[in-house]
Symmetry: C2
């Protein structure tokens, strides 16, 4: 038997299909060469002799995926949530991000961020840095050491930002990006660069054109923001009167998923045309319900996205969101969907715990390939959850225990964590 | 100096006026005979020799107040949140509550509830039991032992409930209540009975009339539900066509605060007439934002209540809510108010962290008298919070640290707890 084969045992829970949970009490989960070999109720003969790490009645679930988080904003999370998006950016976010020009500051702050991300249940994340290349590489160094698998973006922004946080020109921004991408390719195995134009208001047409060239040259995925807040959307209309809708302002430059994997965060106000285009282009929606509440944006029509067959994953969106926990994001997703049903549109029924669990695992995981499920051939990302604090396990089904975990979990409930078959000691 | 005088020192934070925080770094908080004597930046000469318990840079805040929680529902919190109020009651809540006819079951379940309540930051609570007197007295025994100060209600319900959870008649319900009240007066010092008609749909006119007599005879406060959910409100209209509005269905029987302190939970859809009557009668609103999301009720217009000068406090409303933490309730109150502003009525501006902190301390505390503040003469309810896990304290103001605490706290961050001057070891 391959020496890299190992087995974990516990109460297994994962989702192959949105809305459906697969659960198995005291099941076996076999890892071979970093991939899931299979899930078994009783262990097949061929695995005799392979050591089994037995987690008792603890739950074993796929690692969680955070499709949208801003590392430099982690330092002021949970404060200053009294403004809407655009004012919040100008008043709190841009001044803080500008401090990452200082490498010592960046190292200190990013160390806290990466340590906290590592301790949680997240195994994969798509992360915004700042426009500063050295700070972004410090962040990537720390992530590479952490054992997590991430995509990280040096942010591009060359307009409508204060002088202290604005790139000199489209050309400089693109050139810096190219140098950074080249550097990343040499330095990192598990930390990939992702193209990150901040959002349409921050990027000139010239920058967008340049970034498309960079994208094609290096085959880069892309992450940005879309239809988050009403004032932002109005502003995009003014800035890009020729765009049919907000997403079209990206698509006109080929930066809306048509030929490279793309995540758009929020999509709170995406209309039918935008949804159709996202579907055609295979855009991933990063649903960030806590942030959408905290900066007064609204509630995204996630049910509509799911009905349409869009790719949807969860995002913590720190510091619009306050915590890195994707379990908390799942809780907020359920609650927000209920309020949307009640207050906005009762044709879109609320999300269930099983559905948001899918979004936070396989839904977002698909951006990383075969990630977020325990189906054979999926990368072996797994976290072990001790919910004995919440309940006597035998009194509840695994599905109930998972639902309770969304509401009751604390950091210390996460007992073990594997990423692509490698254990991270939390 | 009185031997019952003692002093605690730390970063002090409390609210005298809604929306304003009083903070003092490394301040002294003096307790004398169970009451707050004062808050001092440097200790007056007259306290020389009194031992000071120094909590360093930990935060010291008033104990939190939960104006609305269902003890028997604690056992299924965090599950079964897929239905609206009335279906949820029939499908999940009533079957569970019926089990409290069994005293062993009640003791086991209520022990978990009381232990968890004691470990948290709550020092005062208004609690629903079930209709069963023996189980309710078991709950009260446990609460009395806990050191918490609470009001507990044996529930009254004599209609529109399944046979297994419905009292035989209005007379039996009232008679049981009288016996229970007499018993409570003999047995408890810190655990007070509160009259608890479940809600209008569960109580016949005859029961309401009987309860008014009981209330007057024993001078009892009252707690119930009001204008929570649209279907419930429609049902009340059918059941009480003569009532001007939902609250009037209580007021017609004198059970709406006119002559006894009264808490009404939810008030999500209270109209102007109902708000006016609540104001005239001094009714306390228990705002339960998490529950109002989880069972798809909506969002209460708390800003409107505050503008009108109504008494408002926070409620966890477990198991409509999932957790006993009033910090979590404060977080949900802010978030819900932002969504209400965005989606329902932008004339009512969102609640601030300082405002919800007031609601969870002095706002709800007023139902217990001089409770929930560190003003001189207030009962000495205090909790000590260690937020060093979240941040280096010196980097943030106390106000920022408090705001962060709402979002990041975990049970173990609560380091000490005093109720009316007596320390509870958590």
């Amino acid at each position: 038997m391959n020496p890299s084969t190992f087995i974990v045992r516990g109460d297994i829970c994962y989702s192959e299909v949105c809305g459906e949970l697969k659960t198995l009490e005291r099941g076996y989960l076999v890892c071979e060469n970093g991939l899931v070999e299979g899930v078994y109720g009783s262990l097949p003969e061929r695995f005799a002799g392979i050591p089994v790490r037995d987690f008792g009645r603890q739950m074993i679930i796929p690692g969680l995926v955070d499709l949208h988080v801003h590392a430099p904003q982690y330092s002021f999370r949970g404060t200053h949530m009294d403004l809407e998006l655009l004012d919040w950016l100008n008043r709190y976010t841009f001044p803080e991000e500008s401090k990452y020009a200082d490498e010592d500051y960046a190292r200190k702050r990013y160390t806290v961020f990466v340590n906290d991300l590592r301790r949680g249940a997240t195994t994969r994340a798509c992360i915004f840095g700042t426009l500063h290349v050295p700070a972004t590489e410090i962040l990537m160094d720390l992530l590479e050491q952490s054992g997590l698998r991430t995509m990280v973006g040096k942010v591009n922004m060359d307009r409508n930002a204060p002088d202290y946080l604005c790139e000199e020109s489209a050309e400089v921004s693109a050139q810096d990006t190219v140098e950074w991408v080249k550097d990343c390719r040499k330095r990192y195995r598990n930390t990939k660069p992702i193209l990150t134009p901040r959002f349409t208001p921050s990027c000139t047409d010239a920058l967008m054109e340049n970034l498309k060239k960079v994208q094609l040259r290096y085959g880069l995925p892309l992450q940005s923001h879309l239809s988050e807040n009403l004032s932002e959307i109005e502003w995009v209309k003014e800035l890009c009167p020729e765009a049919e809708f907000y997403g079209d302002a990206y698509d006109r430059f080929g930066l809306f998923g048509a030929d490279c994997p793309t995540i758009m965060a929020h999509c709170v106000y995406s209309d039918e045309r935008e949804i159709r285009r996202m579907k055609e282009n295979g855009v991933f929606v990063a649903h960030c319900p806590e942030s959408n509440m905290n900066v007064c944006s609204g509630i995204a029509p996630v049910r509509r996205f799911l009905d349409e067959g869009l790719h949807v994953g969860m995002g913590s969106d720190v510091a619009g969101g306050t915590v890195l926990s994707i379990f908390t994001a799942m809780m907020h997703a359920i609650q927000a969907s209920k309020l949307r049903w009640r207050l906005v549109d009762d044709s879109l029924k609320p999300l269930s715990a099983a559905e948001v669990f899918y979004l936070g695992t396989k839904g977002g995981g698909a951006f990383f390939g075969k990630v977020g499920s325990f189906e054979p051939g999926y990368e072996f990302d797994a976290v072990v959850l001790d919910d004995s604090r919440h309940s006597a396990p035998c009194e509840y089904s695994i599905a109930d225990r998972l639902e309770r975990f969304l509401y009751f979990h604390q950091e210390q409930d996460i007992k073990a964590k594997y990423v692509a078959g490698e254990e991270l000691f939390c």
